[in-house]
């Protein structure tokens, strides 16, 4: 299949949640009725003007949208090529794009009448965004977080606790994001009568990849409008980092039908692809089944999921959203990598040239955009999704610098 065979990207996924051969619903029978219920509710609400208005209101008044599209002039000058525009998701309430989705899913949770929400989190951004909306709506909240990540991300753990959430360290498996997701699924199966599961990325069983994408697509819709306002045409290229892939799909999706817009998803190259210590399933993985969907995975020769490595906890995930798997195969999006040291360089460069401290996740996108811009002309425009702010990462960076904060 090639790009040109797809007439309308907005027609995906199909009724079973498939994006070509990817996606679907690979879960135990114990979860099916809960997913059916969620899907039925989402189908009835997604085109409901009243629901959409409530979502838009919260995005404007609680999240602080629209987020600016900012021309990074000094960064552009350093790269020496295309103009680099930053879509400032770091300016959202809670400091990342994650809140777009949690605000949307919280509205669904409220409609469902359930009194408790749960979430999985890696770096803690999605956990904080979930705890935030739970506090606002007066819902009980439990966040599953790998025991390793609890240690690595203590400021976010404390933020969640301040917001009233219970943070549950997960001791099984590799004690990271993938295990937190397993544990959240188990909680959901057990407590489905009163619990709504707010998944944080575009992975998981159908309908999650679709609804998380839809809630984050506000990023791309705004960027499209802002591009026309700021430079009178669509961008030549979009760049976003990809872990599970929610910020990337949020930016890309409203542009997929615009074939002149090139798109680059940047995976975490970790210590380098050659070392095997990375989190780049689209570059180095193979299709398989994990967490309810078929997608590209990092696995061994027996089909066991293997540990990933990245300086940024938010990209440290062995799978990727199924829509990305499909966009890779049909060639609509090019998936590249930036390794730890390139991301750290970009982190420092953006901080010093623009006074913007990016999340280490987003720094991967900035790193690739710098390389890409240099190959393009000054009349061209690149939009980079600056998906989150980097305050949470200063301890990681300080540790790398050998400084105790």
């Amino acid at each position: 299949m090639s790009d040109s065979d797809v007439v309308d990207f907005s027609a995906y996924p199909d009724a079973g949640g498939h994006f070509g051969p990817y996606g679907g619903r690979f879960v135990s029978e114990t979860l099916i009725s809960a997913l059916d219920e969620l899907q039925a509710m989402y189908s009835s609400l997604k085109d409901d003007p009243e629901f959409q208005a409530a979502f838009d209101y919260d995005l404007a008044h609680y999240v602080g949208r629209p987020s600016p599209l900012y021309l990074a002039e000094r960064l552009t000058a350093q790269a020496g090529g295309a103009r680099i525009w930053l879509k400032r998701e770091d300016l959202n309430h809670t400091g990342a794009h994650k809140v777009n989705n949690t605000v949307g899913q919280a509205l669904l949770a409220k409609r469902s009448g359930k009194s408790r929400v749960i979430a999985e989190t890696g770096a803690g951004q999605h956990g904080v965004a979930t705890a935030t909306v739970a506090a606002r709506l007066g819902l009980k909240c439990a966040v599953y977080m790998g025991a390793e990540d609890v240690k690595r991300q203590s400021p976010n753990v404390y933020r969640m606790k301040l917001l009233g959430a219970e943070v549950i360290p997960v001791e099984s498996g590799s004690k990271t994001l993938k295990d937190a997701m397993n544990e959240a699924m188990r909680d959901w199966v057990t407590n489905v009568d009163d619990t709504f599961y707010i998944i944080g990325t575009v992975a998981g069983p159908h309908p999650y990849p679709q609804l998380v994408r839809d809630f984050n697509s506000v990023i791309g819709r705004e960027a499209r409008r802002q591009s026309l306002e700021e430079f009178g045409r669509l961008p030549d290229a979009l760049v976003a980092c990809v872990g599970g892939g929610s910020n990337a799909i949020g930016l890309f999706h409203p542009f997929l039908n615009d074939s002149e817009v090139k798109m680059y998803g940047v995976e975490a190259g970790g210590e380098g692809l050659a070392t095997g210590r990375h989190a780049a399933p689209l570059n180095e993985g193979v299709p398989g089944i994990l967490h309810g969907n078929r997608t590209y995975l990092m696995e061994d020769e027996d089909g066991q999921i293997i540990e990933t490595h990245s300086v940024s906890a938010g990209l440290d995930y062995p799978g990727v959203g199924p829509e990305h798997a499909w966009l890779k195969d049909i060639g609509r999006v090019e998936y590249v990598t930036a390794d730890d040291s390139e991301a750290l360089d970009a982190f420092r460069k953006l901080t010093r040239t623009e006074g913007i401290l990016p999340a280490l996740e987003s720094s991967h996108a900035v790193a690739y955009a710098l390389k890409l811009a240099a190959t393009m002309t000054p009349e061209q425009n690149i939009v980079v999704n600056l998906s989150g702010r980097g305050d949470k990462d200063i301890f990681t960076v300080a540790a790398i610098d050998g400084i105790k904060v």
Binding site: G24, R25, D193, D302, G303
Partner: protein, 269 residues
């Protein structure tokens, strides 16, 4: 589908004798790869009618803490789908009658290739497969491959499975149906017997396949109670935790023998 199969034969025999089936679950390689086949023979000797061999997976999403740990221990012993198939082959050298079902997750099968897996399972002497994260909507291709080779496709049904789905799933199912008696993960909570009875009656309207009940069975009394409205009981977590807590293979063997023996006696009483 019509090919002779050990599972069908075993249930026919049990029905003829008016007895309930005792299905026992262990994780392949838990307690050491070398101890799995002796443990399988021990299960049969103690009174198990069918064996479900858990295929370890790094991310066993539907399992509670007890069986998760069993998967982790088995993986530490370098167990795998490939190893499971070797173990079944070894088991078959001495036992040509007891049905063996592989219970696991889709990804190791996907990695091996569905067709290669189906061939290898048949060649090893496997009688059926239950792939936890392949619901009816996604199970079609693998089911067909296994069915063509005379293997049975075991499916889970739950208290939350709709009437319509029960119909769709029982049309795909063969061998027997595994009714999960509780919401939640394996090893959880307490049993609601009235609900088991009602749900088995609901399922019975759709199929003549044997109905086995699992999740929440800990001893002889609970095994007897859940099997009464159905055709058998599936026991897993309590066996896996016994293996996990045993100091050595001999202790595991002794404790498993008495547990399974107690359940057998309760079912036959």
């Amino acid at each position: 589908m019509t090919k002779e199969n050990r599972i069908d034969r075993r249930f026919a025999q049990l029905r003829a004798e008016g007895r309930k089936a005792l299905v026992t679950y262990i994780v392949a390689g838990d307690g050491g790869l070398g101890n799995t086949v002796p443990m399988m023979h021990q299960l049969v000797e103690a009174g198990s009618d069918l064996i479900e061999l858990g295929v370890p997976f790094s991310d066993p999403m539907a399992e509670g803490p007890v069986i998760q740990k069993g998967h982790e221990r088995a993986l530490e012993h370098k167990s795998s789908l490939r190893k499971c198939l070797e173990l079944v082959k070894e088991f078959r050298r001495e036992d040509g009658e007891t049905p063996v079902i592989l219970m696991g997750y889709a990804n190791p099968i996907e990695k091996m290739g569905a067709e290669q897996f189906a061939d290898a399972a048949r060649d090893a002497g496997v009688d059926g497969a239950l792939t936890v994260d392949l619901p009816a909507e996604e199970a079609g291709p693998l089911n067909q491959l296994l069915g063509e080779r005379g293997l049975r496709n075991i499916f889970l049904l739950t208290p939350t499975t709709s009437e319509e789905r029960i119909g769709a799933i029982t049309r795909l199912a063969s061998g027997f149906v595994y009714y999960v008696s509780l919401k939640g993960v394996t090893g959880a909570g307490h049993l609601d017997l009235d609900s088991v009875r009602d749900n088995l009656a609901r399922i019975r309207r759709h199929t003549d396949l044997p109905l086995c009940v699992g999740f929440g069975i800990k001893d002889g009394a609970s095994a007897r109670a859940v099997s009464e409205p159905g055709d058998g009981a599936v026991v897993g977590s309590v066996l896996v935790s016994t293996i996990g807590e045993a100091r050595d293979a001999a202790e595991a063997k002794g404790k498993i023998t008495s547990l399974v023996g107690e359940m057998r006696a309760a079912l036959d009483a």
